[in-house]
């Protein structure tokens, strides 16, 4: 296709992506270098006959508003936002490193810093949910594959529900069930014999709940992809393997698994991207006190009454860097494949 024709065909898409994905990424970098203006203070002398004169500071609301109007970005702060207590917190981390007794204590101190707390949960969620989705998805796919044909359709229908449902809605549905007065919550109280047991109270239980939700929500994706893969396992190869006397395990090991490997890579890639931006469940489970993610941290900054654009932008930049690190192996591999094909 000639360059010119290609250009006209791709133009609408390209403009949309440039304006609303590439531009905001640049805008985020710019915003992260600024912080909100401080309030403009006026010093005035107040005199009264009994105590004499003293100096008083008052907020000049008009001047503050004008300043904010004139320079909506705020004042330049350089990399200050990145290093402050709410982000990378270099000073606090160094302090914790010096004063802590052992790694556990150091980790505990890090968890008091909001950025590291969010990062810890995001990474834990990503790297626990992703493998579980693959294992559970594969197990369900193998199970459904052996079902009589009659049951396959309805099973797939039901399995799609947790994945298709709006994440916020899905998490609310589970949240209501695990409420101390909901069916799962009260059953757990019965089972453990602890009438005060609440899944919302402790950080560990909240993390566990969110991870269970994540697996429930994403396992169908793994299941569907692996199930489709199982339908295309080459049956001639399997039959040949049987003729050659391969055991059941050997057939799985040397025929099925190599066939499924590219699918595992695909599911891993999509899951890493999607789990890294975990956000809605934290809103749905009202879990912010015990578990925040990077996305939630940005959302909280943005929706606060005093929206902290600078802080949200700095977290966004750090998140994007995180995504880049996560994707780097895939991109490098694709690039190598591409070059090998051309060579």
């Amino acid at each position: 296709m000639p360059h010119r024709t290609f250009f006209w065909f791709i133009l609408p898409s390209l403009v949309a992506m440039a304006l609303f994905i590439a531009f905001p990424l640049i805008s985020v970098v710019a915003q992260s270098l600024f912080v909100e203006h401080e309030q403009v203070l006026i010093e005035s002398e107040v005199c009264d006959p009994f105590t004499g004169c003293r100096k008083e500071l008052t907020v000049d609301a008009v001047a503050t508003a004008q300043l904010r109007e004139a320079q909506p970005l705020g004042r330049f702060n350089g990399l200050g936002t990145y290093t402050d207590r709410n982000h990378l917190a270099f000073a606090e981390v160094a302090e914790a490193w010096r004063t802590s007794e052992g790694l556990a204590d150091f980790g505990g101190q890090l968890m008091n810093l909001p950025f590291y707390k969010a990062l810890a949960f995001t990474l834990t969620y990503t790297f626990v949910v992703t493998p579980l989705v693959i294992v559970l998805g594969l197990a369900i796919a193998l199970g459904v594959n052996g079902l009589p044909k009659l049951f396959k359709g309805p099973t797939i229908f039901v399995s799609l529900l947790p994945m298709i449902v709006t994440p916020l809605i899905g998490s609310l549905i589970l949240f209501w069930m695990i409420d101390a007065r909901g069916i799962i919550g009260s059953s757990l109280q019965e089972l453990t014999g602890d009438p005060n047991l609440s899944l919302k109270a402790s950080p560990a239980l909240t993390w566990l709940t969110l991870i269970v939700y994540g697996v429930w929500h994403s396992a169908p994706f793994g299941f569907i992809v692996f199930y489709a893969g199982l339908q295309t396992v080459p049956s001639e190869t399997l039959e040949a393997a049987i003729v050659d006397g391969a055991s059941r395990w050997e057939r799985i090991r040397y025929v099925v698994i190599p066939h499924m490997a590219p699918l595992v890579v695909f599911v891993t890639l999509i899951q890493l991207m999607d789990n890294f931006r975990v956000f809605e469940p934290i809103v749905g489970f009202s879990a912010a006190a015990n578990a925040t993610s990077l996305s939630y941290f940005i959302y909280a900054d943005l929706t606060d009454i005093n929206a902290r654009f600078g802080s949200a932008a700095a977290t966004s930049v750090l998140t994007v860097i995180g995504v880049a690190i996560l994707l780097a192996p895939v991109l490098v591999r694709t690039w190598r494949d591409f070059n090998r094909k051309r060579a």
Binding site: A16, L25, G143, L161, M177, S235, A324
Partner: protein, 293 residues
């Protein structure tokens, strides 16, 4: 496949069946339970005394005189004007899907037919964009949108959702167009069509299966979105998902949480119908990307 390949030892078959049954219950029960509970009063669905109240509807009976009540639905749809959010969602979703597909088919077609290196790089950039958490993009829009008075309107949310949707749409349609033989449009061009005429008269008539599948996923993205709609829309333009979230702020008031339950069930119904009619397309769409690798 011959019987010898598919035959399994009874123990394996038993474990597999138990696992599948367990999964089906796990996947379906929360929905069944919530639909059932949405017709009860709060005292039953969140029962302090005994969870079986939710089944028997003791409090619902006492409060309303019948075992089922539509009070939650009435409160959400009439009193709290959930219908307005439903209308907004419909507008956002319909326009997002139509615009995404128009842009996406043109772009995806071009990417599938161009053999140049930059087409590959565009796809790679799209993949990177696909990985961006939506909220990081939102934090880039918010300040400019405030400044230029674009904040709060439905068209703003629509165009943002279209853009966020593009990387995925491009990838998906690109792989569908790769499956349509090149000879088809190239022979039309030999007969004197321009590239666009060939696209219009030869490709468009055969592309609908791919477009419908991609459209389903665009629909889901727009319908399920929370990050963009919650931050970019003003109160009266709110769509369903942020509206449900706003019900939660007032859960302390007795009965209000049932509004949220009713709203949640209402918002799930269209998704349920979608799977009912398009199960095959959803499954093929999920695997299309995988097969391409």
């Amino acid at each position: 496949m011959s019987a010898a390949v598919t035959r399994r030892p009874p123990a394996v078959a038993l474990i597999a069946t138990v696992l599948v049954v367990l999964w089906v219950v796990l996947a379906a029960f929360p929905f069944v339970w919530t639909v059932w509970g949405s017709f009860k009063v709060q005292g039953d669905f969140f029962s302090k005394a005994d969870w079986t109240y939710a089944l028997t509807g003791v409090r619902t009976m006492a409060e309303t005189g019948s075992p089922f009540t539509g009070a939650g639905y009435e409160g959400a749809w009439v009193e709290r004007e959930f219908w307005r959010a439903a209308v907004n969602t419909m507008i956002v979703v319909v326009f997002t899907v139509i615009i995404s597909l128009t842009f996406g088919t043109l772009g995806g077609y071009a990417l599938a037919r161009s053999g140049y290196r930059y087409a590959f790089w565009l796809l790679m950039i799209a993949l990177v964009f696909r990985a961006m958490p939506h909220i990081t993009l939102v934090s880039g829009y918010l300040l400019p949108f405030f400044e230029w008075n674009l904040w709060g309107h439905l068209p703003t949310a629509i165009i943002v959702l279209v853009a966020i949707n593009q990387p995925f749409t491009l990838w998906m349609l690109h792989s569908f167009f790769l499956n349509i033989p090149k000879d088809l449009d190239e022979s039309a061009m030999v007969d004197g069509c321009t590239r666009f005429q060939a696209f219009r008269h030869v490709i468009v008539p055969v592309m609908w299966p791919g477009v419908i599948t991609t459209g389903l996923f665009s629909f889901l993205l727009a319908y399920n979105d929370f990050a963009v709609t919650a931050t970019l829309l003003s109160q009266q333009n709110q769509t369903m998902v942020p509206k449900i979230a706003s019900f939660l702020g007032s859960t302390q008031v007795e009965g209000n949480v049932m509004f949220a339950v009713a709203a949640v069930v209402s918002a799930t119904v269209p998704l349920f119908i979608l799977i009912l009619f398009f199960q095959r397309q959803i499954v093929s769409g999920l695997t299309a990307g995988a097969v391409k690798g």
